[in-house]
């Protein structure tokens, strides 16, 4: 307590006011904003909270600046860049093949599809055509990657919802089987560096195909078990249905792709639209959602896994013998003609594209990754407005981001 009389207790009112507390001191990660109505009368307070970057629900280092009215979100701004390493600049200063291992690190759960998207774009740029067996291998590895990604996503989503451990452990148990397959194929559990321009690096053995068949057979049973636990689970249904609704119009206008777009009911799958690789030979369907909420996004992923199992069964049955590299492909002195190309595939998270400009030198003049994770976050604020903080966590979980790709 400061008395008015100077000199008492050795402390004056001046010395107390000379050291003002810095703004926001003692309130490290939130700010209070007064809330006023249109007439200017006070209506309580809003709270600005920084969710992240060190927050378990953000799946990495990602921050959301959230303004809350009580428990409800009034404003949400995502903040990126904590994992930015200027991937594109690195790739522009190395050779075309030299950045193939870097593409593994974009979306480190789906390295095989990253490899394929990059290889596909360079093949477009240089006019290469992979032989048939290589196309089959690519489809097998890409669909296995889709299984890995979607299984993990469902596990993480349930983890975000508070189902600690069990669903994620079930998901990781199955993922491990597929990672074993990839390790046998490429020598690495996650960073495969497997595709090459005009083919693949090593061939599949007959044993590998038998082993893959066993894994795929077991996967349907695993999905049955998983769905029995989750799909009609009362807690999951009440937490997710009607939460984070994304309308069709906004989804298209905001360039949303992948399972998120299809959960809103738009029939757009690049495997069907572009028919890249040899996807036109396989019999599979595109599951579509109806409401565009978190439950639909969960359900789409489960149904897509069942379609992937169908594709895998056909591909593992039909895979022909033959070479795995285009004989025209050059490993040394690879210099595509000047020009540009944009190639894209349906990655597990959405449209993964690579835009390349060649000036005839061994390095790409321009190398650009179109990251589905980043662009799908465009509508994060629209989906979260009016929802509670707990729902923000599962809405973000249902978008399915990997920060290695968001920040590049």
């Amino acid at each position: 307590m400061i008395s008015d009389a100077p000199g008492q207790m050795g402390m004056t009112s001046e010395s107390a006011s000379q050291v003002p507390l810095p703004e926001g001191a003692g309130q490290s990660n939130y700010t209070v904003i007064p809330k006023t109505s249109a007439e200017g009368t006070s209506e309580g307070e809003l709270l600005e909270v920084a969710m992240g970057p060190q927050h378990p629900s953000t799946h990495g280092v990602f921050r959301m600046d959230v303004v809350l009215d009580g428990e409800h979100v009034v404003k949400l701004k995502p903040v990126f860049g904590y994992l930015h390493r200027n991937h594109e600049q690195i790739a522009e200063s190395t050779t075309y093949l030299g950045s193939m291992p870097y593409t593994d690190r974009l979306d480190y759960l789906c390295s095989m599809t990253n490899n394929w998207a990059y290889a596909l774009s360079v093949e477009k740029l240089a006019g290469l055509q992979p032989p048939e067996r290589a196309e089959y291998i690519r489809i097998i590895t890409a669909e296995l990657t889709r299984l890995v990604n979607h299984t993990c996503l469902v596990g993480f989503l349930l983890q975000d919802m508070g189902a600690l451990g069990t669903p994620l452990m079930y998901a990781f148990r199955e993922r491990e089987l597929i990672l074993d397959l990839f390790e046998a194929l490429s020598g690495s559990r996650m960073m495969y560096n497997y595709m090459r321009f005009g083919g693949c690096r090593v061939d599949l053995s007959a044993d590998w195909i038998e082993q893959a068949k066993q894994v795929v057979d077991g996967y349907s049973r695993f999905l049955d078990e998983f769905e029995k636990l989750l799909t009609e689970n009362e807690i999951l249904v009440s937490r997710t249905q009607g939460v984070g609704v994304l309308t069709v119009k906004l989804a298209i206008n905001a360039s949303i792709t992948g399972p998120m777009l299809r959960a809103s009911g738009v029939n757009y799958d690049i495997r069907k639209v572009d028919k890249y690789g040899i996807y036109d030979r396989f019999d599979f369907r595109i599951p579509l959602g109806d409401h565009g909420d978190v439950y639909d996004r969960y359900m789409i992923r489960v149904l897509e896994m069942r379609e992937s199992v169908k594709i895998l069964n056909q591909a593992l049955r039909d895979i022909p013998a033959g070479p795995i590299m285009d004989p025209k492909a050059k490993i040394r002195g690879f210099r595509p003609k000047a020009g540009e190309a944009y190639g894209r595939i349906e990655g597990p998270k959405g449209e993964l594209g690579f835009y390349l400009i060649s000036d005839g030198s061994p390095n790409p003049y321009r190398y650009r990754v179109r990251p589905p994770s980043l662009i799908n976050l465009t509508v994060l604020e629209d989906m979260c407005l009016g929802e509670t903080v707990a729902d923000v966590v599962i809405i973000l979980g249902s978008v399915d981001i990997v920060l290695g790709e968001v920040d590049r």
């Binding site: 206008n253 792709t257 540009e340 190309a341 650009r368």
Partner: protein
């Protein structure tokens, strides 16, 4: 989908005064693009999105490219009188091209399932006239990607609702994806400098770094 020439003619009819140019693409990908001018960019984009035969409702990829000042060599056939006989002779003409920044939009149609249609916009130079009209009001999907171009290339998009840096931090000065970007010298002292690090250590800490 119509060919690029047909689309160009229809745009010229729909948006009077628009200056368009087809940029050829020599690679086997065969993806030529359309260069549009600044004043009519939004009108052209709106036409591409709303026209019933095109319906490019989906702006997939938006990116920047940096083109430095360059000397382009072009082979031209010139008629010359050589030893009294008129002959066609190939001559190499050197043209100076001033540098510019470019924004590239890859458009697709989700409704009609065709594409890509590639739009290009160019700034006047690389230093002070780096403004381009933003197409985010037409395609919201360009929002973060235009912010990224602003961040990494320094193109200023007029009409963008929220133009801030996306990946680099606020207060960062340069644009790291430009071709003439120089890394800042952020050398830190190491207790055991060696090789290249030793050379740099000598520059920074001449007294401490003894070979």
């Amino acid at each position: 989908m119509e060919t690029l020439d047909q689309i160009k003619d229809r745009i010229e009819a729909a948006v009077p005064g628009a200056r368009l140019e087809i940029i050829p693409n020599d690679s086997p990908a065969n993806q030529p693009s359309l260069l549009i001018d600044h004043e009519h960019a939004v009108a052209v984009a709106k036409f591409l999105r709303d026209d019933s035969q095109l319906q490019f409702d989906y702006a997939s990829n938006v990116t920047g490219v940096d083109w430095l000042d360059a000397v382009l060599k072009e082979k031209v056939k010139v008629k010359q009188v050589v030893e009294g006989v008129e002959k066609e002779v190939e001559e190499v003409i050197e043209k100076k091209r001033a540098g510019y920044l470019e924004a590239v939009y890859h458009l697709y149609s989700m409704e009609l399932k065709h594409g890509p249609f590639i739009l290009r916009l160019r700034t006047e130079n690389r230093t002070d006239k780096v403004h381009l009209p933003s197409l985010t009001p037409i395609w919201r999907g360009a929002e973060f990607q235009e912010r990224e171009i602003y961040d990494l290339y320094g193109i200023i998009f007029d009409g963008h609702p929220d133009l801030r840096r996306l990946l680099m931090w606020e207060g960062f000065v340069d644009h790291p994806m430009r071709k003439d970007y120089v890394e800042p010298d952020d050398f830190e002292y190491e207790p055991t400098p060696h090789d290249e690090v030793l050379e740099r250590a000598k520059e920074h800490y001449p007294a401490e770094a003894k070979p």
